[in-house]
C-alpha cells in the first residue's frame, strides 16, 4: 500500500519509529556526557530522519550547518551504520572524534567543520555548484537553524544559489523561533521568514517540522521540481520537542539534564512515541 508521499506504509511506520528511538538515544548521549544543546537536537531530529536518513543517497552530501546539534548528526550516522556503538559511546569524551561541534574528516559523512554559524549554506552551495558542473544528478542537503539566518554569509550564499540556478540544493531551516539568548523576533526579527527567501528567488515550502510524512513529501516534491530554483523548506519546529519541560524553553539550548529530569524525559518520550 502506498501513502500520499509515495512511501510504503511500512517505511512511514519505520521512519516514525525512529522519532522515538533516536530521541531516546539522544537523551542517553546527552545525559551520560552531561552536555548541553539537547533542545537543539530534539528540534531538528525529525528533519534529519527525513533528509539525512530517508532521502539522502550514499554519495550525496548533507551539511549540518547548525553544528551545535552535532549529537543529532551522530545518532543519525549511527542509525545509518556509519558510526559504530563503540565510537558513539566516545561522544564528548577526551580524545573523541565526536565533539560537541562536528570535527572534519574524521568520519565519512562529516567532511567539514561546522558550528561556527553561517558557513553551511556557502559550503553546500559550492558542493551543489560542483554537482551542476558534473551534471551528476546529485542533491545537496543543508540543515540550518533559524538563528543562523542572522548571519550575512547565509544571504550571500542565497543570492549565489539563485543566480546559479542551483535547483539541486535543498536548504532546510529548523525554525523553532528561539536562538542563543532570546526569541528570533526579539533578537533580529524572523530572518527565516518565507517572504524573504521568496523575494530572493528560492522555491519555498513551509511545513510542520515534526510531521514525518509532511517533511518527507516536501523534500520529495522539491526533487521533482528541477526548475532552476534552489529550494528551502522552512520547517516550523519546537525546541526540545518531545519532552514537556524542554519544549519552547530557551534554557534547554544550554542545560544538561539532572538524573530526575533524564528519567522523566525518557518516560515521556516512550509514552509519546509509543515505545
Amino acid at each position: 500500500m502506498e501513502t500520499l508521499s509515495g512511501l510504503s506504509a511500512e517505511t512511514i511506520t519505520d521512519l516514525k519509529k525512529l522519532r522515538g528511538a533516536l530521541r531516546l538515544r539522544l537523551l542517553d548521549l546527552y545525559f551520560k556526557a552531561n552536555a548541553g544543546h539537547i533542545g537543539c537536537s530534539l528540534s531538528c531530529i525529525d528533519l534529519m530522519i527525513c533528509s539525512l536518513i530517508a532521502h539522502k543517497k550514499d554519495n550525496e552530501a548533507f551539511i549540518l550547518s547548525k553544528g551545535h546539534a552535532a549529537a543529532a548528526l551522530y545518532v543519525c550516522l549511527h542509525e545509518l551504520g556509519e558510526l559504530s556503538n563503540e565510537v558513539l559511546d566516545t561522544y564528548y569524551k577526551n580524545g573523541t572524534t565526536l565533539p560537541a561541534h562536528p570535527a572534519p574528516n574524521r568520519h565519512k559523512g562529516i567532511p567539514f567543520a561546522t558550528g561556527s554559524l553561517g558557513h553551511g549554506l556557502p559550503i553546500a552551495s559550492g558542493i551543489a555548484k560542483g554537482n551542476k558542473i558534473l551534471d551528476n544528478g546529485q542533491f545537496t542537503y543543508v540543515l540550518m537553524s533559524d538563528g543562523e539566518t542572522n548571519e550575512g554569509t547565509t544571504w550571500e550564499a542565497a543570492h549565489y544559489a539563485v543566480n546559479n540556478k542551483l535547483d539541486n540544493l535543498i536548504v532546510i531551516i529548523d525554525r523553532n523561533r528561539l536562538q542563543g539568548f532570546g526569541s528570533t523576533d526579539e533578537i533580529l526579527g524572523d530572518s527565516a521568514d518565507a517572504h524573504k527567501w521568496k523575494a530572493i528567488g528560492f522555491e519555498v515550502t513551509e511545513c510542520d517540522g515534526h510531521d514525518i510524512e509532511e517533511i518527507y513529501q516536501s523534500i520529495e516534491t522539491f526533487k521533482y521540481r528541477q526548475n532552476g530554483l534552489p529550494k528551502v523548506l522552512i520547517a516550523n519546529t519546537v525546541k526540545g520537542k518531545g519532552v514537556s519541560y524542554m519544549e519552547n524553553r530557551m534554557e534547554w539550548h544550554y542545560l544538561p539534564m539532572k538524573p530526575q529530569q533524564y528519567e522523566q524525559a525518557v518516560e515521556e518520550v516512550q509514552t509519546k512515541y509509543n515505545l
Binding site: 558557513h119 560542483g130 558542473i133 554569509t153 550571500e156
Partner: protein, 319 residues
C-alpha cells in the same frame, strides 16, 4: 656580488594571470572564482579560454571562500581570488573553519597586498595577511618576488594538495628570475652567496635586497641574499646554513614586522642558532595614500634601509 639585470618590468599579478592561463590549458580540475575584481586579478585570459570554469561570486568574499571549499568535494581545485585585504582578514573565520581546519584543497590567491597598492590608502593595504595566514595550521603561504616567479608559483600550487595562500601585488617591478624556473614550494632560492650578513627577503623586497647587496659590495661587505618565497613551510635549513656562515641576518618584507617573515626567522634562530637579526618591515602602523615608491621610502621598505639594517646587524655581531 652576482650581477642581476632586467629588461622588462611587470606586475606580479600579471604573473598570476599568466600562470592561470597555463593551468587553464593543462589542468582541467582548476577553476577560478572572483569577487567582482577579474580585471584587477588579470583573469581575463583564463576566463576567455575557459568560461565554464570561471565562477563569479559577486562582492561577497566570505561566500566565495565557502563556495570554493564546497567545490573541492567534486574534485575541483578552486582558486579563490580578490584583493589581499578582502581575501584574508575580512574572511578569516571562513578560511579557518571551511578551508584550513576542514583541510580542503583551496588556493586563496590575492593581489594588491601591502603598501604598493599606493594611492588607494590604508583601507586596502593589508600588512597583516602573511601573519594571519601562517598562523593557520596546515596553510601553505607563498609570496613570490617577480612576474616569472609568480607565474611559476601559481602553476606549482595547483599540484600541491592542501590549502594555500598565494600573495602578489599591483606595481610593475623588475623581472629578474628565469622564465623557465622550477618553483619548489618550501625551498628557498639563493640569490647571492655571501659571508658577512644574511638578507632574507620576500616579495617586492627581493629586488630591493639585490640593490642593497650592490651598495654593500661597494663598501666591501659581502651579503648573502636569499629569497624566501615560501613563508610557510619555512626553509629552516637554508636559514640556518646561511646564518651559521654569516653570523647575522636581516629580514625584509612588505608586511608588519609583527607576525611576518622576520618573526618566523627569529623563531628558528632563537631555537637553533642565536644570532643578531634586524627587521625591515612596517613597524606597528597602518599604511596611507601615496605612490608606491613614496610609501616604500617613508616606511623604510627599500634598499637604503636594508643597507642600514645590514650594517647594524654586522655591528651587533662584532660587538
Amino acid at each position: 656580488m652576482k650581477k642581476y639585470t632586467f629588461t622588462e618590468k611587470k606586475d606580479t599579478r600579471s604573473g598570476f594571470g599568466a600562470g592561470m592561463q597555463v593551468l587553464g590549458q593543462t589542468n582541467p580540475n582548476v577553476v577560478a572564482l572572483c569577487a567582482d575584481l577579474v580585471g584587477s586579478l588579470k583573469l581575463e585570459a583564463f576566463i576567455k579560454e575557459n568560461p565554464e570554469r570561471f565562477f563569479q561570486t559577486g562582492i561577497a568574499e566570505a561566500n566565495m571562500i565557502g563556495i570554493a571549499a564546497g567545490l573541492t568535494i567534486g574534485g575541483k581545485i578552486p582558486f579563490a581570488t580578490t584583493f589581499a585585504n578582502f581575501g584574508t582578514g575580512r574572511v578569516y573565520d571562513q578560511i579557518r573553519q571551511s578551508v584550513a581546519y576542514s583541510n580542503k584543497n583551496v588556493k586563496i590567491a590575492c593581489s594588491h597586498a601591502g603598501l604598493t597598492l599606493g594611492e588607494d590608502g590604508a583601507t586596502h593595504q593589508i600588512l597583516e595577511d602573511l601573519g594571519l595566514m601562517k598562523m593557520l595550521p596546515g596553510m601553505t603561504v607563498i609570496n613570490p618576488c617577480d612576474y616569472n616567479q609568480t607565474k611559476a608559483a601559481t602553476i606549482a600550487v595547483a599540484d600541491h594538495v592542501g590549502p594555500v595562500y598565494l600573495r602578489f601585488g599591483r606595481p610593475v617591478v623588475p623581472i629578474f628570475t628565469p622564465a623557465d624556473q622550477e618553483f619548489v614550494i618550501g625551498k628557498a632560492w639563493m640569490v647571492n652567496e655571501g659571508t658577512d650578513v644574511s638578507i632574507f627577503a620576500t616579495g617586492h623586497l627581493v629586488w630591493e635586497s639585490i640593490l642593497a647587496g650592490e651598495i654593500l659590495a661597494e663598501k666591501g661587505i659581502n651579503a648573502e641574499i636569499i629569497n624566501i618565497h615560501t613563508i610557510k613551510p619555512l626553509d629552516e635549513e637554508a636559514v640556518l646554513a646561511s646564518v651559521r656562515k654569516t653570523g647575522c641576518a636581516v629580514s625584509a618584507e612588505e608586511h608588519q614586522i609583527a607576525g611576518g617573515l622576520g618573526d618566523s626567522i627569529a623563531q628558528v634562530l632563537i631555537r637553533k642558532h642565536l644570532a643578531p637579526l634586524e627587521y625591515v618591515g612596517v613597524n606597528d602602523s597602518f599604511g596611507e595614500s601615496g605612490t608606491p615608491a613614496q610609501l616604500m621610502e617613508k616606511y623604510g621598505l627599500n634598499a637604503a634601509n636594508i643597507v642600514e639594517k645590514a650594517l647594524k646587524a654586522i655591528a651587533r655581531k662584532n660587538s
